[in-house]
């Protein structure tokens, strides 16, 4: 068991180094941060009924969205790609390989999430007078909302990654619902301007609650008057996110197990043939 942790952490460190040295992937993550900052610069005025700049609301919303994206877009893509390349199969054929893989991926996701969040908040605070938590209470809220938010989306993302067919179709299948949630969850503008049924549907998913939780951590308490409920509803944030975390784990464990079990040399070859036929993979 100690071996699994050692191998997993080593694997996580190496993957992280590869990520940091990959211009393509790094620019993907950095673009998100830049987009958030640019929007924050162009958004003017205050949140209606408060003295909080709308830019702060947008930045808090983007922070939530970036966490959401790492769990439900980046992670499934990594899983599907590595399944297709045979990484999963090699680890399955290696003693302790699959547990080490999960340790490495968890480490990677946590570091990616924390790094992105820290970068966004720090750069925003420095350049565009962005929001930072007020006092220890605010920092504490930031910590638990981020942790619970990741627990809500990461297992779910792993489950999605286990069932998606291949990296080419995966992106299309994930991005559409993600974008829909981005615009209906009150992340980039107050959801109160949307029709009530749309708000109700968005409230089922974790993004709305992650954004609301982060707003409570980053914005002054007076800003809660602009919330749909007139308060931060923190107990509800904790409840919904916990529910998604439980659901995600319940789905991810059997689905990942099934995905790993189904891997074999001939399935890998069959996928490569298919990919080569569609011209998507270098031979």
């Amino acid at each position: 068991m100690t071996n699994v942790w050692r191998a997993g952490l080593q694997r996580g460190r190496i993957e992280l180094r590869h990520l940091l040295r990959s211009p393509k992937e790094m620019s993907g993550h950095l673009t998100n941060v830049v987009v958030a900052l640019v929007i924050a610069v162009y958004v003017t005025g205050d949140v209606p009924g408060t003295h909080v700049p709308t830019a702060h609301l947008v930045l808090a919303g983007f922070a939530a969205y970036l966490l959401f994206q790492i769990g439900l877009v980046n992670l499934p893509q990594i899983l599907v790609t590595e399944r297709e390349e045979g990484t999963l199969l090699r680890l399955r054929a290696t003693p302790g390989g699959i547990p080490a893989y999960l340790v490495a991926k968890s480490m990677l996701v946590v570091v990616m999430a924390a790094g992105t969040l820290a970068l966004l908040l720090a750069v925003a605070a420095l350049l565009v007078d962005g929001p930072l938590p007020h006092g220890p209470g605010g920092w504490l809220t930031l910590l638990w909302v981020t942790t619970l938010g990741l627990l809500a989306v990461v297992p779910l993302g792993a489950a999605v990654g286990a069932v998606l067919p291949n990296p080419r179709e995966a992106l299309a299948l994930i991005m559409l619902p993600t974008m829909a949630l981005l615009f209906t969850s009150g992340t980039v503008f107050p959801s109160t301007s949307l029709p009530v049924p749309v708000q109700q549907v968005a409230a089922v998913f974790p993004l709305k609650w992650m954004a609301q939780g982060l707003r409570s951590a980053l914005l002054p308490d007076t800003a809660r008057t602009a919330e749909a409920a007139g308060s931060w509803e923190l107990p509800m944030v904790a409840l919904v996110l916990t529910a998604w975390a439980v659901l995600g784990f319940l789905l991810a464990v059997p689905l990942l197990r099934r995905a790993a079990r189904r891997e074999s040399g001939s399935r890998l070859s069959a996928r490569h043939r298919k990919a080569a036929q569609s011209g998507a993979l270098p031979a």
Binding site: N3, R6, A7, Q10, R11, I14, H18, S22, E82, E85, G86, T87, L89, R90, R92, A93, T94, P95, G96, G97, A100, E263, S264, G265, S266, L268, S269, H272
Partner: protein
């Protein structure tokens, strides 16, 4: 105990020691298609065993059942003393796998990847020594995706043996190799088997490779093992006759098939004034045997004379020259 008796005991022990791989009446059914219809296999320690067969014969299914990646429909299987369907991590650590379609870990550096995979095993090989063994020392710092096809496959072999497996599966390992790379690879596999006692199960389409490397060969056709034995035994089983070729005085080329080539050559010489031009004796090759088996399978006939049909295709290997 006399030395002779001691030897006999040793032989008996070697013969009856538990095989590394043992399969009895293994069947596999997908829907209403019987892919395997009762496969029996025994592979012994230190043996290089080749599994031959046309596409769709069930080679891959057989190997994946032995690797523990597929559930058989029925039959008994034991690999290193365990049922592969219930193989745990300790069992996995004793098995090495080299598949043909791995493209994983592209961004990793060669030495980094090997060092990482060494951490999973209780008694791994030294990564640097392993790189030297597969001839990749110069590529140690290179990214995996920048390796050539042959280098990539050699890295796969290195990853397959980093945990000192007792049993190594090689799935069409030299597809796409140039002749030199193929030769080096064969030397490596032989070293593993002869010097370290690794048991190797090789699947291949390359008959020359099977003949060169394998101690024993099994031919899987239509979901059954149709023939199994040393390359020489297989050739004999096909009841094929040797072919004698020579050029007559008038310049015409003669070919004759005979069960006793020595007799024929002797008679030729008795009737000749001197050396016989272009004299050649060709023993039945593994390819003859293989095609003969396939032919018999598709024909449904016993086809003892069927070897003649393969005549035109065996121009490449194993030509025994006389005179």
């Amino acid at each position: 105990m006399t030395p002779k008796a001691a030897k006999a005991t040793k032989d008996t022990k070697a013969t009856y020691a538990e095989p590394v791989v043992s399969a009895r009446d293994v069947t596999m059914t997908y829907g209403d298609v019987d892919v395997l219809q009762g496969v029996d296999l025994d592979i012994h320690r230190g043996e290089i065993f080749a599994l031959l067969g046309p596409n769709g014969a069930g080679k891959t299914t057989t190997v994946e059942i032995l690797e523990g990646f597929r559930r058989r429909s029925a039959g008994e299987v034991s690999v290193l003393g365990a049922d592969p369907e219930r193989g745990d991590d300790a069992w996995r650590a004793r098995i090495g796998l080299v598949l043909q379609s791995w493209r994983d870990h592209r961004r990793w550096r060669v030495a980094e990847l090997l060092t990482h995979f060494a951490t999973y095993y209780p008694d791994p090989r030294d990564p640097a020594e392993l790189l030297a063994l597969v001839g990749l020392t110069a590529q140690g710092g290179r990214q995996v995706e920048r390796l050539s096809g042959g280098q990539r496959r050699r890295l796969d072999v290195a990853l397959g043996i980093v945990g000192r497996p007792e049993l190594l599966f090689l799935d069409e390992p030299t597809t796409g190799f140039d002749p030199e790379a193929r030769r080096e690879f064969h030397v490596l596999v032989e070293r593993l088997a002869r010097e370290e006692g690794v048991t190797v199960l090789l699947t291949t389409h390359d008959l020359a490779e099977a003949e060169r490397l394998a101690d024993r060969i099994a031919m899987l056709v239509g979901g059954r093992i149709r023939a199994c034995g040393t390359p020489a035994e297989l050739a004999r089983q096909a009841a094929a006759r040797a072919e004698v070729r020579w050029t007559a005085d008038d310049g015409t080329i003669h070919r004759e098939r005979t069960a006793d080539p020595s007799q024929l050559v002797w008679e030729l010489h008795r009737h000749a004034d001197g050396p016989i031009a272009g004299l050649e004796v060709r023993r039945p090759t593994l390819e003859d045997t293989y095609l003969h088996m396939l032919h018999r399978e598709t024909d449904g006939t016993d086809g003892t004379g069927g070897i003649d049909e393969t005549n035109g295709t065996d121009g490449t290997d194993d030509t025994a020259r006389a005179a």
